[in-house]
């Protein structure tokens, strides 16, 4: 299949051959030939954004909710530099993206030309891999390789920098089957001997726990299913990182809730006291481990990860298994069943007894109010009123994000999109647009804080233009809530720069863009207001005025171990002090 075409036509043809239906982008001088090629076809839909950072977050939302790579097109110089935050976010959370950036013509590279930036240099540390293509004959192959690299092994963002003369030049198109990809083939099967060791450990462990992460979701829906089968068959408790929520259903009987800095009491204490920790596709992030030297001191640790560099990076493990979680789980189930489905029933019963005691602490309890909307209450009502719907949730970053992780429940993977590793304020709104474009008939809600939301509010125009009916549920406390909380707990209550001054009137802002605006400040009106949001056929900006001084608990202060958790004054064990061990 050797066809002659221009570099710009190759970009469009390669996208079609890769099964791409949507690209998020913003035009500029150095990508005009590609925009011209896009103009002359109807197979690939282009979503015109208002800022390149948002284009990348949209592509992330698209990718995370579909499992397919997200695609972005930006121009040279500022177009590319604006994409850097999104690329870094996608790298930290292992999201597959293919980003195309324009570049000045090859003969001008290095001359400080207009809108020139060293894009491959700038994006080298924030992509999984990147390419500068100087020859039109090589372009198509590089694009197919880029899709292969972005989606194989541990997924991640890749970038292809395209000088303008290469877009104009004519070359030979290479199809996806002809592109050489054999040089990059990460190992997906786990070592069977190590898997057998894991099964042996599972058979005798008295206090086992599954600690799961985003790797399970990245591995695909089959991995989540296999994991559920294994968890339910063994009866082991399971907790997950922020990134892994939904892989095991929150309604499942073995579910302990999220772990980590704002994780549930029972999940963190179970991690601390377990004798066998089975890490599936998580990476011992510092928000999970707390003080590493005191992290789960009594356990034998097993780590399943497709990325060898995650093994022993933070926490030394006893049994590493390098491979794709889905493939490894398949083998674990096979071996465990073949050996007679053994577990330490007596030990497990005692272990669950202790876990039930920890659950009685009711760590998420909070003081209700009849006059002011508590943020936790707002999320409880949102959960109750959207339960059972075809629902996707995105979030911004901060207190609201942690409350959403605690109070919203996910029964399937790919339904929860949040910036975990990088913690990018401004992620959620554009991500929700990307999700909605991939799932036009679904209910897509971005749970936001007012400060995060303002960081990419220009995308309201994108929603109006493309009729994207996302619901922006803003928990407005007129504060940078998480910053305020740390200042409250760790900086003597000196609230330096942590309030939101000069906020817009959100309902008028909504009207200005042709949206529906709803404001709610009374708990009695909340249900009706949420229903009004859900019933509106179009984008809604919901300004939920909440308690301004609420702190998010439980909390493991930075650098503390799991068993030194701070609990809310409303949790059962707080007054006795027993919870603080």
């Amino acid at each position: 299949m050797s066809r002659q075409m221009t570099g710009a036509e190759m970009v469009v043809q390669a996208l079609k051959d890769q099964g791409v239906d949507t690209i998020f982008g913003y035009p500029g001088g150095a990508v005009l030939p590609i925009y011209d090629a896009i103009f002359q076809q109807n197979d690939i839909r282009h979503i015109l954004v208002r800022h390149e950072q948002a284009a990348v977050h949209m592509a992330e939302g698209y990718a995370r909710s579909t499992g397919k790579p997200g695609c972005v097109l930006v121009t040279s110089g500022p177009g590319a530099t604006n994409a850097v935050t999104g690329l870094t976010d996608a790298l930290m959370d292992s999201i597959p993206l293919v980003v195309f950036s324009g570049q000045v013509p090859t003969f001008m590279i290095g001359t400080d030309g207009f809108q020139e930036a060293d894009t491959v240099g700038i994006t080298r540390p924030c992509t999984k891999h990147n390419w500068l293509v100087k020859d039109a004959d090589k372009l198509a192959e590089v694009i197919h390789q880029a899709f292969h690299v972005a989606t194989s092994g541990r997924p991640g963002p890749v970038l292809i920098d395209l000088p303008k003369d290469v877009q104009f030049a004519t070359g030979t198109y290479t199809g996806p089957k002809q592109a050489r990809t054999e040089n990059y083939q990460p190992k997906v099967k786990g070592d069977i001997e190590a898997i057998t060791r894991l099964v042996e450990l599972m058979e005798t462990a008295a206090r086992p726990i599954f600690y799961t992460g985003g790797g399970v979701i990245n591995s695909g829906p089959a991995a989540s299913q296999l994991m559920c089968e294994l968890v339910d068959a063994t009866g082991f408790p399971i907790t997950s990182t922020l990134m892994g929520l939904g892989a095991y259903p929150a309604s499942g009987k073995n579910w302990l809730g999220m772990l980590g800095m704002h994780g549930l009491y029972e999940a963190n204490l179970a991690m601390h006291d377990c004798d066998l920790m089975i890490n599936l596709g998580a990476r011992f992030d510092d928000r999970i481990t707390g003080r590493v030297s005191d992290f789960s001191p009594k356990s034998t640790k097993v780590h399943v990860d497709i990325d060898a560099s995650s093994i022993n990076k933070i926490v030394r493990v006893d049994l590493p298994i390098i491979g794709d979680v889905g493939h490894v789980l398949e083998d674990v189930l096979k071996v465990w069943k073949a050996r007679g489905r053994k577990v330490n029933k007596e030990g497990l019963a005692k272990w669950w007894g202790r876990i039930e005691e920890w659950k009685k602490v009711r760590c998420l309890a909070y003081a209700g109010s009849e006059t002011v909307i508590k943020p936790q209450y707002a999320l409880e009502r949102l959960e109750a009123l959207t339960k059972g719907r075809d629902r996707y949730i995105t979030t911004e970053v901060g207190q609201h994000q942690m409350w959403a992780a605690q109070f919203l429940h996910f029964d399937a993977p790919n339904r929860w999109m949040t910036s975990g590793g990088l913690g990018t304020m401004g992620y959620g709104f554009p991500a929700s647009i990307g999700v909605q474009i991939a799932h036009p008939d679904a209910l897509v809600i971005n749970v936001a804080g007012e400060a995060s939301w303002l960081m990419n509010m220009q995308e309201m125009g994108t929603c109006s233009q493309f009729r994207v009916p996302v619901k922006q549920f803003i928990l407005n406390n007129e504060r940078l809530g998480m910053v305020r909380q740390w200042q409250d707990l760790l900086h003597g209550g000196r609230y330096s720069q942590s309030w939101s001054e000069s906020l817009p009137d959100f309902t008028k802002l909504a009207e200005a863009f042709g949206w529906k605006g709803i404001v709610c400040s009374d708990p009695k009106d909340l249900d009706d207001a949420i229903m009004e949001m859900l019933e509106h056929d179009g984008p809604v900006l919901f300004d939920c005025l909440v308690e301004k001084h609420e702190n998010c608990f439980p909390m493991i202060p930075s650098g503390k171990p799991h068993n030194e958790m701070l609990l809310s004054a409303d949790a059962e064990a707080f007054s006795s002090g027993a919870a603080l061990v």
Binding site: R124, V149, K187, D191, S309, N312, K313, R316, D318
Partner: protein
């Protein structure tokens, strides 16, 4: 591993090993990294070291297979065993990296470095410099009435020793290639 009762090397045929990496003692390691000789590959390797705070004591790069466009990067680095293991794993996940070989851990490698020394002087010092150069099997590759350029090949330690001896005899300039290394035997 004692708690688990796993034999050392029990999974030696897999992509990882169960060698104990837990030690606070820093040591020097010579790594050979085989890469595709494509634009930016050296920047990726160096960027990894600077971005993650690892040390580079010496670095040499050259294409070793012109037809296959393969280059060999030899890096001498320093760190605890855990850090060195992490460096190897991080290098291994760079897309154009084909192999990472820890020559120091696998066996005592053959290490060689080439250096050029410019020594200025006359009279007795000049004669002494020439005499020492002979002991070190250094070649004179340039000479004027007041200077020599010596070419020395050997281990980095030998080159350090030669530099120390030349310093009081009028050493004015040094150029070193960095270490090239291969494993011993087959």
């Amino acid at each position: 591993m004692a708690a688990l009762n796993i034999k050392k090397g029990a999974t030696s045929h897999s992509a990882y090993d169960l060698r104990d990496t837990h030690s606070d003692v820093e040591s020097s390691h010579t790594l050979a990294v085989i890469v595709d000789n494509e634009a930016g590959v050296l920047a990726r390797v160096i960027g990894l070291f600077s971005g993650r705070g690892y040390n580079i004591d010496s670095l040499t790069v050259a294409e070793i297979d012109h037809k296959g466009h393969r280059s060999r990067i030899t890096i001498v680095t320093r760190g605890t065993m855990a850090v060195v293991e992490q460096i190897k794993a991080q290098l291994g996940r760079i897309v154009p990296v084909h192999a990472v070989i820890d020559l120091t851990t696998e066996a005592q490698p053959v290490e060689r470095e080439l250096a050029l020394f410019k020594v200025q002087g006359t009279g007795e010092k000049r004669v002494e410099a020439l005499r020492l150069a002979d002991i070190f099997r250094a070649n004179v590759v340039d000479s004027t009435l007041e200077s020599f350029v010596f070419e020395v090949t050997g281990t980095p330690e030998k080159i350090d020793a030669f530099a120390e001896l030349m310093r009081p005899l009028g050493l004015v300039d040094v150029a070193r290639t960095g270490v090239a290394a291969l494993s011993r035997g087959i």
